[in-house]
Symmetry: C2
Subunit: 414 residues, 2 copies
Amino acid sequence: MKELKGACIIGQSGGPTSVINASALGVIQTALKHDCITQVLAAEHGIRGVLDDRLFDFGQEDPAEVELLRNTPSSAIGSIRYKLKPSEEDETDYIRILEVFKKHNVRYFFYNGGNDSMDTCNKISKYMQKVGYECRVMGIPKTIDNDLVVTDHCPGYPSAAKYIGTSVAEIVRDTKVYDKGPIVLLEIMGRHAGWLAAAASLARVSGEGPALIYLPEVPFDMDKFLKDVTDLWNRQKYVVAAFSEGIRDKDGKFISEYGSDLAQHTDAFGHSQLGGLASTLSQFCNNYNGIKTRPIEYSLLQRCAAHCASQTDIDEAYLAGKTAVEAAVSGTTDRMVSLKCTRDGGYKCEMELIGLTEVANAEKTIPRDWINEDGNNVGDKYIEYALPLIQGTPDIPTENGMPRYPHLKYVLAK
Amino acid sequence: MKELKGACIIGQSGGPTSVINASALGVIQTALKHDCITQVLAAEHGIRGVLDDRLFDFGQEDPAEVELLRNTPSSAIGSIRYKLKPSEEDETDYIRILEVFKKHNVRYFFYNGGNDSMDTCNKISKYMQKVGYECRVMGIPKTIDNDLVVTDHCPGYPSAAKYIGTSVAEIVRDTKVYDKGPIVLLEIMGRHAGWLAAAASLARVSGEGPALIYLPEVPFDMDKFLKDVTDLWNRQKYVVAAFSEGIRDKDGKFISEYGSDLAQHTDAFGHSQLGGLASTLSQFCNNYNGIKTRPIEYSLLQRCAAHCASQTDIDEAYLAGKTAVEAAVSGTTDRMVSLKCTRDGGYKCEMELIGLTEVANAEKTIPRDWINEDGNNVGDKYIEYALPLIQGTPDIPTENGMPRYPHLKYVLAK
């Protein structure tokens, strides 16, 4: 394979995570070491920054500041939800991307995101091949939703899971302090897959998890839930229950839509925007049993809680970025870095490369046999899966007792 | 002062915190060292455990497990919200308390709570004096609300403030990632005092705090807020705003009650139960400007987030418990431990003893000149006050990546 000389671009796409910047750091630090990579550029707001020619030159940043990205949550160069149309339908964006790539002699494109982002990667790569512009395109997985197929898990998920498990352990302890406690209803992200809500069960490792956990993988039965939660409260005088935002009834209707007047929107990818599940459930509970409820929506708190990140997650996220660069420099293109893990005889995680098309537009859900028969909690198989991923407490740089985030110059490449 | 020999009781009252168990540990470990204290008892659910004669003998616990209380959030022996009637009105509870005290020869009573709890302490002490039963009564301050008078701050507040500041710093970063972000509305606890919502401003130390912070100390003007938040979003395309749950308009009406159909309850102390402020504000915002909002209620998450505790807080909470025991053993009674702090020339905190009646049923609010003129943010005086309190990252005992909480036997005293 002949050496390919040119600039690289790193872009961040989709919802941010606690470790998406650790992957960017893996790309940046590795790329800066390779002579064939002439410039390390970061696209502001993902593909939007390419279209707008807003590319930051990370060679001009202070390396000590850049290093702080390792523990800095959320997308430091900005993210985007933007779906490229197929080039056969509309070539406009592709022509512009090619123009910007040529202007900066971009020969390496690294894109960090979920399955929609891998679709973007794939489309760009295919277009560049079609027009004969040599550019190596690599996807780096990221999503707190953990719903990418093939890969054992997605960087970002372990830290979100650790925060959810830890804070649920705290909430369970808080809920038990009075002789009569409330029914706590925890709304956790997860549209079609229950990975994040399942993480509430990690609280069991600290003593006690939610007695009830509902995932989108199993149809939700409101009548049965109301009976179960009331029976449980009558027995123990408090209940903590966790729910994926995307739980649906047997007819496929979102439970969050049971509250008739809740508005429904769709986002740029055509997905329904969910919300208000916890308060909807709270109203149903109150009408049924009159017991005090505490609806709590984790919302943005669960996405970037880097103060409770997993060191394993940080290390793997970094390694995924590093692997993408090394593979591309060695001649690989059109691949996503995937995590191959074994748990028997101790946890091991290796980076492997898979085809972009293997992950684009597919979703991985929780196996049915990881969920109990009643469909209202997860079993030990999930805990065995997740526990190795949340190991390690990072030593987070602080200043004045608060997290020290990098001061970046964001110098635009000319 | 003659030596007083007998058992001691530690009780926890009111809302739990991240460090209330650190204070209990300070009491327990110190009391176990004093020969005049014959038994160290912990009352289940505070004064309720005394009335029900449910007292756990901490002399029978494994000291290594008890030590874990230092980093264990929420009330490990259970809490209560129970207001004793004046003994002149109804002596029933007092007669029962005296009976249980006599049964176990209780001569030391340590009560850890907020201002309602100091009132309980005071009433019990006065009654015991009236009937001639010698018992030394000491209050230990605790409340995330930070609204006790005299004391510089309350143990529990610094850790809640640190978690709020840290997670708001993360939320601000999350909100900025897209080219157009939402209006994030953060509902933070605080009925009459804005201490917890003010802590959102600590995010500034990490780079950027909420552009708008509203406290109950200043009347809230809905029209001005809607104009301000819309102008701000138009300028920067995202807004993070923080609110005390108890903000009221110039007529004293709670903003959370603006949503006409929101139910209103009162708790056992006769305070209004608030809730739903963030979603009420979200509806007003949406109607006014149509911009996407993210209402987030911190709810229970802010109260026991020991995973983000302040080591300073833990140390002070422990010392407050230790000081209460040492003072009582030396003959002091009817006092609350109060924190006297200086910040000039470096932060110093000393424990002093004040009269219980000095703090009972009074509330400390944020000085008006710590809030900006517009009444929609806090200034540097608050940061200077709070910053020393959030210093230090505890080394939290973990097992399998999750917090390791104590396994206690809870052996009832006979």
